[in-house]
């Protein structure tokens, strides 16, 4: 295959794609697409150095050096990133405009996942401006990290995913996963040791274009609806094992 070299910028992009060499599309379980989705894989075209003109062979040369050792932990979520590569077919005239969705994650944050959960849950359903405002005044270490992640995602949305206004986003999903825990020891009396867990967490964010919904979780029924539910439950009562 004839290969050509370009500058640093596209090479960086292609370097990322080289790593995601063989991805099988059917693995994606939670499709947010309709039945007619065109599942087009990101073409991992390799634009490496070659050419009669001067080229940047340095990038390929740095591949197997000390600088590029394989990490002992997960750096990216290929699955979560895959959502950013779904290409939907063009919409027809009468259809509702599909809102843009951007998925972003950050891994191996030095913060306990249980503590980070509170922060992740707080921002669910908020508009991105509101979330950034709240996080900047939240006295938790995790809040600063999540704020960075949100800002990155917002930038990505505007630059790569054709989102017009950076404020017109809301947080559709926000959850936390465990990262690789580093274990340490604490001596107790005699030959007894206690394990110390240096916990890491991964934060996942999904931004959606549009104004935030009024209720993220379904609110408890009030008024007329509550009365209807009550009546329904009362009428559903039965005497079991009766004749």
């Amino acid at each position: 295959m004839i290969i050509l070299c370009i500058g640093d910028t596209t090479l960086r992009k292609s370097r990322a794609t080289c790593k995601m060499a063989s991805i099988s599309v059917p693995c994606l379980r939670f499709l947010r697409a309709s039945n007619h989705t065109v599942f087009r894989q990101f073409v991992p075209t390799l634009y490496q150095a070659s050419s009669i003109h001067t080229c940047n062979a340095i990038n390929t040369a740095y591949k197997n050096t000390d600088f590029d050792k394989s990490l002992g932990f997960r750096r990216k979520s290929w699955k979560w990133e895959k959502y950013n590569r779904i290409v939907y077919p063009p919409q027809k005239e009468g259809q509702n405009i599909r809102p843009a969705e951007i998925c972003h994650a950050r891994f191996q944050i030095k913060y306990s996942p249980l503590k980070m959960w509170y922060i992740a849950v707080m921002i669910r359903g908020m508009s991105i401006d509101e979330a950034l405002k709240q996080l900047s005044f939240y006295k938790r270490k995790g809040a600063a990290v999540v704020k960075e992640v949100l800002e990155e995602a917002q930038e990505m949305a505007v630059r790569d995913h054709n989102v017009e206004y950076k404020s017109n986003l809301w947080i559709a999903s926000s959850f936390v996963g465990q990262g690789k825990t580093v274990r340490g020891l604490r001596k107790h009396r005699g030959p007894r040791y206690g394990m110390i867990h240096y916990r890491y967490c991964n934060v996942f964010i999904r931004l959606q274009e549009g104004p935030p919904p009024k209720h993220y979780y379904p609110p408890p029924p009030m008024g007329h609806d509550k009365m209807e539910e009550f009546i329904r439950d009362q009428r559903a009562r039965r005497i079991i094992h009766s004749l």
């Binding site: 070659s50 003109h53 740095y62 405009i97 505007v158 995913h161 604490r186």
Partner: protein, 345 residues
Amino acid sequence: MAAHIGRLVRIGCHQKILSCQVTSRCSPVPAISQCAPAVCLLQVRYPSSKHFNPKFRKLRRKKIMKIDLPDYGKVMKDQDMSADEKHKQMKKDKIPPPRIFQERPINISCTSAIFEPFVPPEGDGKSSLLSTEGVKQKYTEFEKKGKSFMALRKVRQFEDDFDIKDFALQAQDIVMEAQKCLEDIRGNRNRLHELVSEKAFVEMVFGLEKKTFHWKFVESIEPPRVTHVRTTEVLGKDNLYAQVTVRIHTKQILAIYDRFGRLMYGSETIPKDCLEYVVFEKHIANVYGQWRVHGKIIPDWMPPREPLIKTYRVATFEPLEELEEDSSSTSVEKQGEDTSVQTAA
């Protein structure tokens, strides 16, 4: 009151009383006897990882095995560094630079630039009798004398039956087919490589990975015409490449949809008049050389393209540092996704 606080302190030192909230219920109109401040002592506890007895801190500290936690954030940032930044970092850390393999495959099927680009005359494509006449003069001129004529002769040395008129029609077909292939880049990549040189391939395809590209050729307004021929030698006297500029005036329909199927640019129904100066290249010294699209010349006087449907902020870039290497290295401009639409006229 002091006795009250003292009693609380004796109960438990680790229950830190960090706030003593005092409220006074003084009425706005002060009456001397009615002003009775009420003190509300709220015992508030904040989480603290300090041990209640600070006496044995040092011994407790010795019990913990000290671990240097790796800075994963830094590690991940290191991975994202570009080659130049890595080079600087390695110099700082005094790690020797990596060995670059000297044997590299060299691609000689296309050149890296358009040599001596054609300068289209201003006012070309506008409907006025006088201008077209002047333009026609320029086009017929090169058939009798001039650099293009000499270059044409050189091309005819390698390719006997090179006819300008036939080539112009062929060229238009090549361009139209290449544009159509962009609708499915992955599926048509082989054919696209046959029709388009490596340099132009990058320019045509960049930014279309996550987009849907709909293109249609409506009709040609004027017959295509060859305007400019040049030949260049690269790395040797007989290694000749020929570049021919063809003027193509057509009506095209272009619609680009973003990742979510929303129209980003153009329209499916309204055709646009496109005046293009497409440069074709062929490695004429090579028996198996093919005429392929090598690039496009966009003159300064050309009216700007239709704007994108959505508004966006124009990105500001820092000025690029002056490279010490010679300028023949190809560099794709750092353009945002919005401004990377290059194929439409």
